[in-house]
Amino acid sequence: MDFKDKVVLVTGSSRGIGAALAKAFAQRGACVIINYLKNETLAEKVVEDISEGGGQAVAMQADVTDEESVKKMMADIIEAFGVIDIVVNNALSHYSFNPKTRKTAWTIKWEDYQQQFSGSVQGAFNVCQEAMVYMKAQMSGRMLNMVTNLIDFPVVPYHDYTTAKTALLGFTRNLAKDLGSYGITVNAVAPGLTYPTDSSKETKEDVRKMILTMTPLNRLATPEDIIGPVLFLASDLAAFVTGQCLRVDGGLVMV
């Protein structure tokens, strides 16, 4: 898959899956924007790694939950590169996947949901709203939203996180319908538990083992496993695929 000269924005890409995706796009010729909220050092490290490998990348700070902040980032991207071809909504509000300390149905508050809606749905909304202005004008574009296989199978019920991601899938499908006429595709990728990442480091060995015993491929996802499916949906090979959710979880969920 060739992304030569494509301009790609990956939100929340200073670490974890986001960083792996950014590096993968850059390796295949794309010019990648490494968006981060706070972690400038890590974001610059990703840029450095990409540059060392001969790729092009630039780090841009923006809070995706803040409309103005996103507007400014998108304007900066357009000013610097002239186009935006692909956006990957990967950022989320800080979340620790800790089965021991998760909130139960009877302790969780509406504010918890709101925070996740804000990180997942509002973040994607802000980015897509801004990107679609340029993509519509280009009559092409790829939007990708990172969701989770917990939507189909809440093996550990992280109520706020999973509900927000479910909403993001709904957002994805509706957007796909409206933007299809402009040649823009909108799809979702649903990883299973991806280890190791900062969010998943609190998921202890016992729960990881329980998940992998139910997984046909007998292991957990690594950040690198998520790359292929995302690149596919972002590429020309997936030109006629929109509104879909591709599960990348070793076969744990089959629908």
């Binding site: 190791p196 060995e205 015993t213 007998n218 292991r219 957990l220 690594t222």
Partner: protein
């Protein structure tokens, strides 16, 4: 150079507070948080003697006066610290050990905490009770059922010679020495010089006087002047390592001193057909792969050959294939350490040997190997045979009609056999274990637990604490006789 000056300096030794080490050699290692400078002491025989005298003094004045119960409590408190993920030494160990040993971070993180749990107070008490009828014998004379009284004394100073790069194994030996109130002079191996030092420093945080009886020092194995000095200072020597190391040390230890030698051992596994039913086989394969991946088989507890019985839902050959696939997955989760050229060559050569044999049709062996490098190798043999392995995730699998029928393959190695991971029906367990015991095996354990020996196990088939202590008996005659000299006696 600036980076170097600012870098964190870590002393890779622990000596009593009075001792000054003026000269160091240094080694810089790179970690994810920047460079760290490891400092190693430059030692002379005189310095070692000075250190030895200090720890002996601390043993005599303090450690020997503590009750075993107190010592157990101190060790337990140290272990509690290590069981806290935020404990700075634990974080330091989790940062440095992957760089020092080459083992994957995740593997070290998981195995270190699991290992520490085996030294909780209840485990230490179990360990003591396992060997002593009355643990208080280590503190005072205790009456014996057969009459008279007895008390046990540990060596005043134990010289521990550690080996290998499995993190933390040294603690076992150190703790054993502390339980019998011995000062410790520990010589660390260059491949894992950290954990014994950090744990001793933790003990110092809890009971500084007790830790004065501990000295942990690295020096090049075989440095005769230092070895001789250390042996002279010690009342007992515990040596771990290759047979060459053990054989080199043995003649240096006079008859009058105790020597506990733990040399080279080989472990293996046996899988009965009842463990290979459709609901069980994957679990067995998974747990076995963990036994093989853990510390890249560098521990002598890890299996090198696996005997698989025919007649299960998967054939021994399928078992080999599945194990290969599982080892591939483990390589993603816990990447194997980088090897030296010699180590990699050893794996290549064993692969070639069996590939050639298969080509020539001499023997029906099949090699399943990682495609890119030497990350893992599974060699399947259709005939039962016992094969040693070049380690680093290289195993032999052999097929048999019946596990009980293959004991002959063990016959050449009685003095080398150690653990057997066994997965069989309860009705076969004791009978098979008896057969294994008669062939020299000293530990039967579950698959998946091979690298974790239980507290109180008979290490290499022997006793632990009892081998270190000496007893003094007051015979009943002396007891009664003493009564006669009480002026108030009738």
């Amino acid at each position: 150079m600036a980076k170097y000056a600012e870098a964190e300096h870590i002393k890779m030794y622990k000596v009593p507070t009075k001792i000054r080490i003026d000269e160091h050699t240094e080694k810089i290692i790179e970690t994810t948080d920047g460079n760290v400078v490891l400092q190693f002491p430059v030692l002379t025989g005189d310095k070692l003697r000075e250190i030895g005298k200090e720890i002996l003094k601390a043993q005599e004045r303090y450690l020997s006066t503590l009750t075993v119960q107190t010592i157990v409590t101190v060790i337990d408190q140290a272990v509690q610290k290590w069981l806290d993920p935020e404990y700075p030494f634990r974080q330091l160990a989790e940062k440095l050990l992957p760089e020092i040993t080459g083992y994957s971070k995740e593997m070290i993180r998981i195995s270190l905490k699991r290992y520490m749990r085996t030294f909780r107070k209840k485990e230490l008490l179990r360990f003591l009770d396992e060997e002593f009828d009355q643990v208080a014998m280590l503190d005072e004379f205790r009456p014996r059922k057969s009459g008279g009284l007895s008390r046990a004394f540990g060596p005043r100073l134990i010289f521990h010679i550690f080996s290998g790069n499995v993190p933390g194994v040294q603690l076992w030996s150190l703790i054993m020495g502390l339980l019998v109130k011995s000062a410790a002079l520990g010589k660390t191996s260059s491949t894992e010089p950290l954990m014994a030092v950090l744990f001793s420093k933790t003990l110092a945080e809890i009971d500084p006087l007790l830790a004065e009886a501990l000295a942990i020092l690295p020096w090049k194995g075989g440095t005769a002047s230092l070895e001789t000095e250390a042996i002279e200072l010690a009342e007992a020597v515990i040596v771990y390592g290759s047979n060459q190391t053990v054989e080199r040390i043995k003649p240096k230890v006079p008859q009058t001193k105790r020597l506990l030698a733990y040399g080279h051992k080989i472990s293996f596994a046996m899988i009965g057909k009842e463990a290979l039913t459709p609901d069980r086989y994957y679990d067995v394969v998974h747990r076995l792969a963990e036994d093989i991946a853990m510390y890249d088989q560098q521990s002598c507890l890890s299996p090198q050959t696996i005997v698989v019985e025919k007649g299960g839902a998967i054939t021994p050959k399928q078992f080999a294939q599945m194990l290969a696939a599982e080892l591939q997955r483990f390589d993603l989760k816990w990447p194997r350490a980088e090897l030296t050229d010699e180590e990699a060559l050893a794996i290549h050569s064993v692969r070639h040997h069996y590939e050639l044999e298969a080509l020539n049709g001499q023997q029906c062996s099949v090699v399943y190997a990682s495609s890119k490098d030497t990350a893992w190798t599974v060699i399947y043999h259709s005939d039962a045979a016992f094969n040693g392995s070049p380690l680093n995730r290289t195993v032999h699998i052999c097929a048999t009609i019946q596990l009980e029928a293959v004991m002959d393959i063990l016959k050449p190695y009685p003095s080398y056999l150690q653990s057997c991971g066994l997965a069989v029906h309860p009705n076969r367990l004791l009978q098979l274990a008896a057969l294994l015991g008669s062939h020299g095996v000293d530990r039967v354990t579950a698959i998946g637990e091979m690298n974790r020996a239980q507290a109180g196990w008979h290490h290499d088939g022997g006793l632990n604490l009892l081998q270190l202590v000496r007893f003094i008996d007051i015979e009943s005659s002396a007891e009664w006789d003493a009564e006669r000299y009480d002026p108030d006696v009738e």
